[in-house]
């Protein structure tokens, strides 16, 4: 069975976001409208909801839980070490960083799940520089831990491994970072014990910048999921959280149109890396 598509009209879209706000306290008014509508069709497929009216009815009666909804608002992990060329650039940046002080790296969670964070943790471990890193992880929402874990199917695991091998690091056993379960899936082992300093904070970059300035901010493929007026606010607050010459990483098809407006400069076009002026 392939995916069934549903055309969600603007009126139905408005009813859905209103119900999510009123009944669940989930504000998705800033979520990319077009992608949100597709996320709802994925949810409807999963729960075998046949039409929009049934979806609206189930939301009205709160027959779906908060987690069941968040599960589809978050973008599923399809591979780790996406864009190996980007990770090779990052390796050069980390290797050449002044080791006299800790490098502050911030991973900011939006609607993308933590594949980038977990990829970064593996990389820091493999480069043996975890002692030189202070890692801050920010999430704007309070969600269940199970939504943040990574379990890869065999196919996705192999794809991630292939991506990792493209980094041309000394050969390692990539599988050592995963626990294989009885059905052959690979669950990522959280590496908090490997990194001496992880600041786990709740921060919403739609509201303000963080006080503690950072050398590197990861926000790859996350602006995709925010609607247009909001992404400028987020960029401004991320830029204000960077130290001078600090680096902001976006996805390779995300672009800041007038970076100077945010006191940023594009320093790597193909990987969409911006530097704070």
């Amino acid at each position: 069975m392939g995916l069934e598509f549903y055309q969600i009209s603007i009126q139905d879209y408005k009813r859905i976001i209103s119900l999510l706000d009123e009944n669940y306290g989930i504000d998705v008014s800033y979520y990319s409208k077009i992608v949100f509508r597709h996320r709802m069709t994925i949810l409807m497929n999963y729960y075998k909801i046949k039409d929009i009216e049934t979806l609206l009815s189930r939301l009205e009666k709160k027959q779906l839980t908060e987690d069941q909804i968040y599960q589809f608002l978050y973008i599923p992990i399809t591979e780790m070490f996406r864009d190996p060329a980007f990770w090779r650039v990052l390796i050069d940046i980390l290797k050449n960083h002044d080791k006299s002080r800790k490098i502050r790296i911030m991973f900011s969670g939006g609607f993308a799940r933590n594949k980038e964070l977990f990829s970064l943790l593996i990389l820091l471990k493999e480069l043996n520089i975890e002692d030189y890193v202070e890692l801050t992880v920010t999430t704007p929402f309070l969600i269940s831990d199970n939504l943040l874990s990574v379990t890869l199917s065999k196919q996705k695991f192999e794809l991630s491994q292939t991506n990792f091998n493209r980094l041309k690091l000394p050969m390692i056993d990539f599988a050592k970072y995963f626990d294989k379960d009885y059905v052959g899936n690979y669950k990522f082992k959280y590496l908090s014990d490997y990194i001496k300093t992880i600041n786990d904070v709740s921060h919403d970059f739609m509201k303000d910048a963080m006080v503690r300035k950072q050398d590197i901010i990861f926000f790859r493929n996350q602006l995709l999921y925010f609607s247009l007026p909001k992404d400028a606010i987020i960029i401004r607050n991320l830029a204000q959280t960077l130290r001078p010459k600090g680096l902001l990483f976006l996805g390779i098809r995300e672009r800041i149109n007038n970076p100077a407006d945010f006191k940023l400069k594009l320093v790597n076009d193909s990987e969409q890396i911006y530097s704070k002026l």
Partner: protein, 186 residues
């Protein structure tokens, strides 16, 4: 008056796309969206290869880029491509659909919804059924549908799969598709 052309293809479609782009006029009054299955980690080369003979510029869009007439937009590798109000292109890293990202169905459905009966949808040679539902959607929303003749397709899974579920406006061989597009745009 049409507002956009969208073309989907997979295995065996490169030469056909190249031929279509070669014959489209420089002053084509609509944007052309290309959704082609491609290797996800090969970023460079595809636009350049298509550009060699193309009569109109080809680019891979950035997220939230405003699309314009006279330009062909190629869905970037490993991203889905949607179309939104305000002439915006929206990209996403969501899960694959029909084992594909970009998925032809997603882009065709999105274009059908946005452009309604002002859209021309074209499906070409390919080895899976991605695009079949998208073409049905284009037709349901009143758009014009063109299917490459399966007998003319290098691999006919996509084109024959489409013909199995719908009756398109035109079934054409690769030499006829570009001239039909030009005729429809007049």
């Amino acid at each position: 008056m049409f507002k956009a052309i969208i073309i989907g293809g997979s295995a065996g479609s490169f030469q056909v796309i190249s031929k279509i782009l070669q014959h489209l006029p420089k002053d084509i009054p609509v944007p052309v969206f290309l959704v082609l299955h491609r290797l996800k980690h090969v970023r460079l080369g595809f636009v350049e290869a298509l550009s060699i003979k193309s009569n109109i510029p080809i680019k891979e869009p950035y997220d939230k880029e405003t699309f314009q007439k006279g330009i062909a937009y190629l869905a970037p590798a490993n991203y889905h491509m949607y179309f939104d109000f305000g002439n915006k292109i929206t990209l996403s890293t969501e899960e694959q659909v029909n084992h594909s990202r970009p998925a032809i169905d997603i882009s065709f459905m999105s274009a059908a919804y946005l452009f309604q009966d002002k859209l021309i949808g074209v499906i070409l040679s390919g080895a899976n059924k991605d695009g079949v539902k998208g073409m049905v959607s284009v037709q349901e929303m009143g758009g014009v549908t063109i299917v490459q003749d399966p007998k003319d397709s290098q691999i006919d899974t996509m084109t024959q799969g489409t013909l199995n579920v719908m009756d398109p406006d035109f079934v054409l061989n690769q030499k006829e598709i570009a001239s039909k597009l030009i005729e429809l745009l007049k």
